[in-house]
């Protein structure tokens, strides 16, 4: 799935007319705002929650939205607003940690493979190729079947399945930069490999790497909430947004907000990230004169 991301994002926009780019920037702003709001929720959510997250506060299960419980109640009669506010921290937090680690690992390996001897480059590349050929959900499923589910394991899984994609992108960027004159000059000057990687190459590829990190964040949110939805992700009593969808699936027949709200929450988060990232990358490709 990782190579899908790579191929679907760039150059999807043509030389757009001003009208399109205006609507695009508006959507990008919307995406950025959504991301920002979810970040705030993840940081401050648990303090804003009106009720303790595990407390049964109502006799009505799958209650509809109302004054007392803005998002209704869940299958045990717990306040849904509180559960979403707390669950968002798990979803955003776990995905953010995993995305940063995955991108970091991928970029480090990429820099290493560019400045290191040829054989090391070959070894790293082969290893990454093998991991990219295991679909992320499959890798997550076998990891959980072997080790049982825990927060640490989920992070490890996400890093394992998403760093190869980051590695590919970072490596292709680094290879291009490494061929430029100023890197050659630095090498002739006798700089050490570490210096070339960290001071000459890394700063010049930081922007696309960060964009890629954003994309990966979105896909990790999808992976982790998918696992939680299957009951193999974040384990009770903790619950991320995916677990909230799972535990309230019984309310499907009534169209309970307890089921719809967390599902929509994940949707807005990932769509927001995608709109934001699309905006950033299309602006960059226009500035750099690409199509």
């Amino acid at each position: 799935m990782n190579n899908l991301i790579v191929k679907s994002t760039p150059s999807a926009t043509g030389p757009a007319s001003t009208k399109v780019s205006a609507s695009r920037s508006w959507l990008g702003l919307l995406g950025a705002a959504t991301c920002f709001i979810w970040l705030l929720v993840a940081i401050f959510g648990p303090w804003l929650a009106p009720h303790p997250v595990g407390e049964v506060v109502s006799d009505n299960i799958f209650d509809v939205m109302g004054m007392a419980h803005p998002f209704g109640t869940d299958y045990l009669g717990r306040d849904m607003l509180s559960r979403v506010l707390v669950g968002a921290r798990f979803t955003v937090g776990l995905a953010l940690i995993s995305a940063v680690l995955a991108s970091g690992l991928g970029t480090t390996c990429a820099l290493l493979s560019v400045v290191a001897p040829k054989w090391l480059d070959e070894v790293i590349s082969r290893l990454m190729d093998a991991f990219i050929s295991i679909p992320s959900k499959m890798l997550a499923l076998i990891m959980v079947s072997a080790f049982g589910s825990s927060v640490v394991l989920l992070i490890c899984t996400a890093v394992l399945s998403f760093s190869p994609g980051a590695f590919r992108i970072a490596r292709s960027l680094a290879v291009n930069i490494e061929a430029l004159e100023y890197v050659q000059v630095a090498r002739t000057r006798g700089e050490r490999r570490m210096y070339i990687a960290c001071v000459e190459i890394l700063p010049n590829m930081l922007n696309p790497v960060l964009t890629d990190l954003g994309l990966r964040f979105g896909f990790i949110v999808l992976l982790l909430s998918g696992m939680s939805f299957l009951g193999l992700g974040v384990q009770p009593p903790d619950a991320d947004l995916g677990s909230l969808v799972r535990e309230n699936i019984g309310g499907l027949n009534q169209g309970a907000p307890a089921l719809v709200i967390p599902a929509l929450a994940i949707g807005t988060l990932t769509i927001g990230v995608n709109l934001f990232i699309d905006r950033i990358s299309s602006r960059r490709s226009r500035r750099s004169g690409g199509h």
Binding site: A16, M138, L141, L230, V245
Partner: protein
């Protein structure tokens, strides 16, 4: 096709088989070697050392990991997938009952999604910059990021709960009429299609636009060829490689989506079998299902690459 292309294709096949081997090593390492002593785990902590040793001998755990891996690989290749612990049935038998269902689901999804996606992609490339294009761009961009269970939940809410057209649960057995077939498959297929269509349409649009920006299309436009003809006669044949590539890659995305969709709709396919196996920690079954999915994934990626190689005229002719 020249020898150069043939060589390229052979190398690609070789790389695919090598990758599959490495994948099998990774799968075996994660499921059988890293978790520790399976005999101790299955007997619990109160087992006597003699019992554990006996079971280890019986399971072949006394041998080093490499030997066990080779043994497992040989069995896998010869079709002996082991026995499922939770249902005490041969894994191959369990899987044989489920594979056709998943194939059916995937086939119907592909049949529906490919034409829709190509139409959308080509259409929005033709009306590039227009209102239809920007709306489609937004919708596909949003849908790419939507989790399957959101689509599934909303679809069930609308079509099964509110409108009452379809049943929320699907069973692949006892289908007698086309109408019943529709009712069974509509929701799972629709859910799977959403994300894939979006993915494929975006890539198709990019591929066609890439061609539309090229000098020969500009030339055709200057000599007064109609827009329809430009796209269908000039751009499309040249974009067929990237498009086929996009289709194969998008279909490989199915493998992830099908896990969620089969679970949510209780569809008796191979992915729901695998999720149950993971929940029960039924290792032989997990390994076999994983290898099946990874092989399918590699085949699709291989197909995508072959399409890209074969459609490149520089590689096709001398």
């Amino acid at each position: 096709m020249n020898s150069n292309t043939l060589w390229l294709i052979c190398r690609r096949f070789g790389a695919a088989i090598l990758t599959l081997l490495i994948v099998s090593m990774v799968v075996f390492a994660i499921t059988a070697v890293l978790p520790g002593d399976a005999a101790q785990q299955s007997l619990g902590q109160f087992a006597t050392p003699e019992q554990v040793a006996a079971l280890r001998l019986k399971l072949g755990l006394d041998q080093p990991g490499v030997v066990r891996y080779l043994h497992w690989l040989m069995n896998l290749v010869s079709g002996d997938l082991g026995t499922s612990v939770s249902s005490a049935m041969p894994v191959s038998e369990l899987m044989a009952g489920r594979v056709p269902n998943t194939m059916m689901l995937a086939a119907v999804t592909a049949l529906v999604s490919v034409p829709v996606a190509l139409t959308l992609g080509i259409g929005s490339a033709m009306g590039r910059g227009g209102r239809v294009d920007s709306v489609l761009s937004f919708i596909t961009l949003a849908l790419v990021a939507v989790p399957e269970f959101l689509v599934a939940t909303l679809a069930v809410l609308v079509f099964a709960v509110n409108l009452g057209w379809l049943s929320a649960l699907s069973y692949a057995s006892d289908i007698t009429s086309p109408w019943q077939f529709m009712r069974t498959y509509a929701l799972p297929v629709m859910t799977l299609c959403f994300v894939i269509v979006a993915q494929m349409a975006r890539m198709t649009r990019a591929a066609v636009i890439d061609q539309l920006d090229s000098p020969y299309v500009e030339m055709a436009r200057l000599k007064g060829v109609s827009p329809m003809r430009i796209v269908l006669r000039h751009a499309l044949p040249n974009a067929i490689g990237p498009i086929a590539n996009a289709v194969a890659l998008s279909l490989s995305y199915l493998l992830g989506g099908v896990v969620i969709v089969e679970t949510i709709f209780n569809y008796p396919g191979i992915a729901s079998l695998m999720v149950d196996a993971v929940t029960n920690r039924d290792m032989a079954l997990v390994q076999a299902c994983t290898m099946l999915f990874c092989t399918a994934y590699l085949v699709l990626v291989l197909l995508a690459d072959l399409c890209a190689i074969l459609s490149n005229p520089r590689l096709r002719t001398q």
